[in-house]
Symmetry: C2
Subunit: 256 residues, 2 copies
DNA sequence: TTTGACCCCGACGCAACGTCATGGTTTGGA
DNA sequence: TCCAAACCATGACGTTGCGTCGGGGTCAAA
């Protein structure tokens, strides 16, 4: 037999045989006068065994241990091996299941694949009123950031928070406020800015208070600098001023 | 932010950031006077998005396509992407299920991991009478070879064949014959050899005939040379002679 | 004698980083 | 004030199981 014949008999490629020679798990056979390798049936058997082992997940380098001395109390070692292999498979299955869960939820929410699936529907609820794709992107970026900063444990809280904000009784107010926020810009007068802040606080403050009472407390204390940096680098100056004023108002009103 | 800070915030290693720079999916930020990279919150967001994508199975190189233009009719592309990802996961699950099935059967049969699990119990049935580990190994090797040569489609046939041979009414005869075959050697006289062949044919011929009638026809025609080579290189001369004689006897007796 | 179809060896490529090796910078504490 | 610890940087090799060139000999049939 020469290489191609052995390869086709064993169901592998010639390159595979060469690889097995290189890493030393398949002994080099004798050569013919022209330098060609001449394989025998024992080489075929060896390759077949190797393939059986990799089929159950054994790494190539470990195959010699199992092939060259499978007799000496092999049962124990074999059991341990099977345990290791199955543990590996189980962990892979867990990973795959998690990935599929995410994919399914992404499908259900029809969201982009780079946002947390739990928040997709809230984003969709607001995306309609964003006046530009740029604004949409900003919302999404901020969502990604927030979702990560609150951590896995904070995610349900965040979801509850957004659920409250997108409830039928609040949503119209919210979209109105958001739309006005989007359109803040250089053309906005000082009076208009103050009016916006006033409207926002009076319309949303009750909701925020009720949320605070319901223990929806998200701890973002060690993330404020990041969020501040985000605003500073992405929002229009007028929008930043609005945020600052809102912050002041909420601080003073919560001191009561 | 410098590297370590961004890395810990994003839940990755510094090396990972460097890798993302190298393959161009994360833009190099500006440097401080000392050459250190100075990251901003947008870099953090970018890394977080990348991590979300790889978490669902997107290869790193494809992330820019999804991150830099997720808005233009993205829904279609996103759906196709999810389809691809899920298909990939499904194929992995199939592979894993197959591997686990093999492992489970190996556990059940408690066989070595390099033999087909379906044949493990037959091997065990004979392994007890093999007079040496060498003989055991030969049996196992031959089994591996045979199982591969008959192919996936032939395996059930082979199993049926062996089932018949290891049925309670035949097994004692078989073990007796096998044991005598194992012990053939230089010390065996010509008369003893002939006697063995005779005994074997008379005791097993009926079984073989009944199997032949039941359509247990295994086509090994294009494998005879391999099997012959195997015998020639592993069996004792006397054992080879026995096989040859058995072959002759069966040929002539089947001509009837 | 010219194709194909074999054979050989050597070496790079892949995916997503881990892990040195080597050297500069900054900072808090003895 | 000086040192150790903890940052930062670049560069390069290692991992897994082969696929895929590139360059060059060998052997059969046409």
């Amino acid at each position: 037999m020469q290489s191609a014949e052995l390869a086709s008999l064993a169901g592998v490629t010639v390159r595979t045989l060469r690889h097995y020679h290189q890493i030393g798990i398949l002994p080099e056979p004798e050569r013919a006068a022209n330098g060609y390798r001449r394989y025998g049936v024992h080489d075929l058997i060896r390759v077949l065994k190797i393939r059986r082992l990799i089929a159950v997940g054994v790494p190539l380098e470990e195959t010699p241990r199992l092939l060259d001395e499978p007799l000496a109390g092999g049962s124990l070692e074999a059991d341990a091996l099977l345990d290791r292999l199955e543990a590996e498979l189980m962990s892979q299955e867990v990973r795959i299941a998690a990935q599929r869960a995410v994919i399914r939820r992404l499908r259900g929410e029809s969201g982009a694949p780079d946002i947390p699936p739990e928040l997709g529907r809230f984003l969709r609820a607001i995306s309609g009123i964003a006046p530009s794709r740029e604004m949409e992107r900003i919302d999404r970026d901020q969502t990604v950031l927030l979702a990560h900063l609150v951590g896995e444990s904070g995610l349900p809280q965040l979801v509850g928070f957004l659920e409250r904000l997108s409830a039928p009784d609040v949503l119209p107010t919210l979209t109105d406020v958001a739309s006005r926020f989007y359109h803040l810009g250089q053309h906005t007068s000082e009076a208009q800015l103050d009016e916006f802040v006033e409207d926002l606080v009076t319309s949303l403050d009750p909701v925020l208070r009720s949320l605070a009472e319901e223990d929806f407390a998200l701890d973002l204390s060690n993330a404020t600098s990041l969020l501040a940096e985000y605003s500073a680098t992405t929002l229009a100056p007028m929008q930043q001023r609005a945020l600052a004023k809102i912050g002041e108002r909420l601080d003073t009103s919560s001191e009561n």
